[in-house]
Structure formats: C-alpha cells, structure tokens
Amino acid sequence: MKILVALKQVPARDSLLRIDASGRWLDESDLSFEINEPDAYALEAALQLKEQHGGEVVVLSAGPERAVSAIREALAKGADRAIHVEQENLGEFDTLSLAKLLAAAASSEKADLILTGLQSDDLGSGQTGVIMAELLGLPHATIIMAVEASGQGVRVKRELEAGWFQHVSMPLPAVLTIQSGINKLRYATLMGIKKAKTKEVRKLTAAELGVQPESSVSLLRIYQPKRVKQTQMLAGAPAEQAAQLVEKLKFEARVI
C-alpha cells in the first residue's frame, strides 16, 4: 500500500507565544516548532499500516525552509521519502488554495491512501484534508480513530459525539483525517535519524505546481485570550448558599 501523509509544522505546544508587530501572526523569532499533533498520529498510523501490509510511506509538507526539520523527523521515524513544497509566504494561502497546493503535489503520486491530521494546532480549520479529497475526486472520512485494511478497501472507525463511534468500509484510494491519541507514537531512534540523512526530499514550489495564493478568508487580527476568571462569594445560611450554588451551576455554568 502506498500511503501519503500530509503533515504540517506548527509552533511547539509548550511555546511562549508572542504576537508579532503586524498583529496578524506570531513572532517566530524564538519559537520552536514541531509536527502538528494529529499529523504525528497520522504518520504513526501510516507506518503501522506499512509494517502490516508493506508498501511505502511518503511525507508531504508545505511550509517554509524550516519545515524540513519536521520532514526529517518523519523520515527518521520511518517514512521512506518526502516532498517538501517549499513556500515562505504560506500565510497568503487560504485553506482552499493550500489544499490545491497539496492536491497538486499529491496527484502525481497516485497514493492508495492519503492521511492528514484532523486539524492543525495553529489555525485549526479542520478543512485541509477534506478539501484536498474533493479536489482529487476521492472519497474521504474524518475524525478517524482506527484504520484497518480489508480486501480492496479500508475499514475505519470514526469518532462521533458523546462516546458514539461509526464504522465505515470504504474503497481505495481515499483520504482520511486522523484524530490525536489513537495510537502510541514511536520515537525517532538514533539509527533512524542517521538513515534519514540519505532519504530523498524532493523540493517543489507553488509556481512549479501552478498554484497561486488566494485568499477568500483574511486573517485580521490575532490576540491572546483574555482572562475572564471571576470569583463570587455566596452569602447566607449554608442551606441558602447551597441552593444558590445549585442554581448557578444549573443555569449559569450549565454543568448540572
């Protein structure tokens, strides 16, 4: 099975985030970056499928030059080769044009399965994989918890709301967007890191793929969420306080 994993490099989860002078993006000067969390699980799912059924795992990432460190990590974990759509101004691409970019890069690969993360930890639109599937004319399923190859297709488990799951059988080729935490991520071993140095990373640009940045959605401003914590003291006899508390929990906090 040939599996393509689209993965994105995002600011590390425990970074101290500062907003840059434009007010529209993060100050990247002393940020560290990592593989987007659900994408790491997508990669792991791909590597496990390859271990079970053989084939090839190809990593596809669009991003600036620094994204190569995320690609190297994926190669060190066991991906066979990578395609890096090297693009500095990725912020000018909205989700649709980004999906066009990825679909253009993916199309010549003719993969049996394309995996992406459910959403990215930075922008979180949750659309890239789905639009990509549409552009490629492939069936897709989202919020995937498990993938099993069965016959000519795959059987997947989707997460629904409130602890419900859906099991779907679908034909290949297909696109799946993977949920975080579905498997146990492997470490990049030192031998893997060494071996990754010799693996192929093909560089492409948006111009070569014939995709223009488009922006049907524009990002006006980003800001730190405001702290809205407030403390209320309830007065009265214990029984009255308890009654007020229940009232608030029911109608204000809506937790009971």
Partner: protein, 389 residues
C-alpha cells in the same frame, strides 16, 4: 510541573543543526516518558532500572558515537546532547550508558580484534549484553599506575589475580574490560561472566548513584585465553584513552543535571511567596543565585559545544577534556546546592529531583578523575610541570 525544555539563555540552539536538535528531542522525550516516572522510586529503593536497557538499545544510546557493528554513528555533539538529556533524568542512568559505550564498546572497537568486535559490539549496542570497566582497585584510585592486579602468561592463556572495586555495572555485566599488570606493562582483557575464578559482589550503603549498580570484582587464578586479550591495548595510556571518551560525555551529561536543578528552582521561586505575598524570586539574593546558575550553565554549554566540535574535527585532547569535566561537574554540583537552598525545606525531599542530583554529582566529581586530578592535568598543560606526586 511542565515538561523539561532545557535551558537556552544565549541562543545556544543556533549553534546546533536540525539533526542535533532532533537527537536531543527524541532523547528528551524518551527520558520524560520512560525515566522520569520511575527514577524516584528506583533511587529510593536502590534499584537499577534494568527494564529500560532493551529500549535504550533500540533507541541507539549504547555506543551512539561509534561507527559500524550496529552502532548509531552519531557525531560527538549529538552524543553529548544524548548524555545531557539522560543525566537530566539521572546520573546513574547516564553512567550506565557512559560505561557501556565509552569504557566497554570503545576499547573493544579501538583495541580489539575483528573477532572480538563481531562477538561483542552488536550485542552491546542492542543492550543484549552489558559491560563493565575494571580499572580502580582498593589501593589505587586516583593513581591507577600503581595497580596490583596481575595477568601472568601460561602458554596460550592468561591467569588473572587481584581485585577491582567501585566498578559500575559490575554484578550485572556479561563482559568486563579488565586492566592488569603484565611483565610487558598494563594490558586489557575481556572477562566473561561465569569464568571460573571471577567473582563479583555489590557495594552496599551508597548514598549516591543509588539507581546504578556499583560492584567489586575479584580474580583468583582466573584463567582466560589469549583471544580474550585486547590485542591493540598497550599500556595504561590505552585505559586512559577510554576514560577520555567517558569524561567527554560526563562534561555534557552534568549540564542536564544542572539544568534540571536550575529550572526546578526558577519555577519554584516564582510561585513560592514569602513576605508581603511576593514570590521569593522577587528578592535580590534569590535572583543573584538564579543569575549565577544560568550564567554558569551557559558557559558550560559553550565549553561543551566547543569540545564537541573539536572532537568531531579530531582536535580534542585529554587536557581539554579535563577542563570540560572539571568545570562542568563543579558547576553542576554548585547549581544543585544553590537550587536546594532556594527550595528551602522542600529542597531536601524527593518530590523534587534536586537532592538526588546533588548526591549523584558527588560521585561524578570523584569518578573518572577527581576534580583535583583534572586540576593537575590542566596545571601541567599550562606550566609543563607535573605535580601529581
């Protein structure tokens, strides 16, 4: 407490390439997941976490900077970063890896026969075999040149007699690299567990390195064949060559312990409040200690990186390594003591890693050449006058 993020005051990361950072990250993650959750109990119970050995082998930690025979072939800077992250977990774990890689695999690779390399290195790299290094004796620590363990030739075999002590991994080792005196000078031998006349026993009552095994080895008419001698090891300088490898790793490793202490103290002093409901970090005397620590850690990082780059360029010699080992170990120990102080009473309990690091670092100051001995090496380098005797 949030997971460990290292210390980088001076954009030291800009001196590292992507692969070096990835090596550090993957080791850090391993330590966070596999070591941090168990190490406190291991230390308290004086238990060596042997269950981690196969996983560490799979990660490639053993003999990571050696090439071939199943070793990972990392650069020396990458190797140093691995040591840093492991010792952030615990000096005892780093000791296990140092001994295996620098004191057992390195001499087999450097002084061993092809047959010996093939027999031992792949298994040592995977952690399927554990090794130990026997140089120190009850009467000869800082001055190994006085060793009294002897190897006498008898036809096609050698007969070993004597005692080694303070040997890391001794009782768990499948193979011991043993240094003994022969009429032609000091020679190195590979003694396998179970060889008649070879016995090991653990040293009990340690208040330092409690998650690491430390043992005595005794040889009483222990007969081994000539093919168990390291053919290219000639004289004490071959043993010292191994120590240079290990000391290089120690100079990096202790940075991890120092960083862990500093970060623990920094975070603690920012939340602990005394006097007028102000965090103790807002007091000048506290800041002075934090400023001292972060400055010394940064200087230690620069020293380690320069030594690593020199080693990769094959320009690092033993007197450079003495500076790295001596400075960084003393610095780390001082960071542990200052951090302990900043945590007040909490500094002495095992909810925090500081006291464990501090106790471990007392060993690190002594082994692999004491602070004094490295002072004398540096003194000799700058004056030309040896002052050991």
């Amino acid at each position: 407490m949030p997971s460990f993020r290292g210390v980088d005051y001076l954009h030291i990361d800009s001196l590292l390439n992507d692969d070096e950072k990835l090596v550090r990250q993957t080791t850090r993650q391993f330590v966070e997941d596999r070591v941090v959750p168990v190490i406190k109990d291991c230390y308290n119970q004086g238990r060596f976490p042997a269950e981690l050995i196969p996983e560490m082998g799979e990660m490639g930690f053993f003999g990571a900077n050696l090439d071939g025979y199943g070793c990972a072939g990392m650069s020396n800077v990458e190797y140093g970063l691995i040591m840093q992250e492991l010792e952030r977990g615990d000096s005892g774990l780093r000791s296990l890896v140092s001994v295996q890689g620098a004191l057992v695999m390195y001499p087999i690779l450097t002084y061993g026969s092809e047959e010996q390399r093939k027999r031992y290195l792949p298994k040592l790299a995977k952690g399927e075999m554990i090794g130990c290094f026997g140089l120190t004796e009850p009467g000869y620590g800082s001055n190994p040149a006085g060793m009294t363990t002897t190897a006498t030739r008898d036809g096609d075999s050698w007969v070993l007699n004597g005692e080694k002590t303070w040997i890391t991994n001794g009782t768990v080792a499948d193979v011991a690299v043993v240094w003994a005196r022969t009429p032609e000078g000091v020679r190195g031998f590979l003694v396998e567990k179970g060889t008649p006349g070879y016995k090991t026993s653990d040293i009990h009552g340690k208040l330092s390195m409690r998650a690491s095994v430390t043992s005595s080895l005794s040889f009483s008419d222990c007969r081994i064949s000539e093919c168990h001698r390291l053919p290219e090891a000639q004289g004490l300088k071959s043993a010292l060559g191994c120590l240079s490898q290990a000391r290089f790793g120690i100079g990096w490793g202790v940075l991890g312990a120092a960083m862990d202490c500093f970060e623990t103290a920094r975070q603690y002093t920012m939340v602990r409040k005394q006097f007028d409901d102000r965090p103790i970090a807002s007091h000048q005397l506290v800041q002075e200690k934090l400023a001292w620590m972060v400055t010394e850690i940064t200087k230690g990082q620069l020293l380690a990186i320069q030594c690593g780059r020199l080693k990769d360029a094959r320009k690092l010699d033993f007197a450079h390594i003495s500076m790295l080992k001596r400075n960084n170990v003393a610095m780390a120990l001082e960071c542990a003591r200052l951090s302990r102080d900043l945590l007040g009473g909490n500094g002495i309990i095992d909810d925090y890693p500081i006291m464990r690091h501090m106790c471990n670092l007392e060993t690190v100051k002594t082994y692999e050449g004491t602070d004094h001995i490295h002072t004398l090496v540096i003194g000799e380098r700058v004056t030309g006058i040896p002052a050991y005797k």
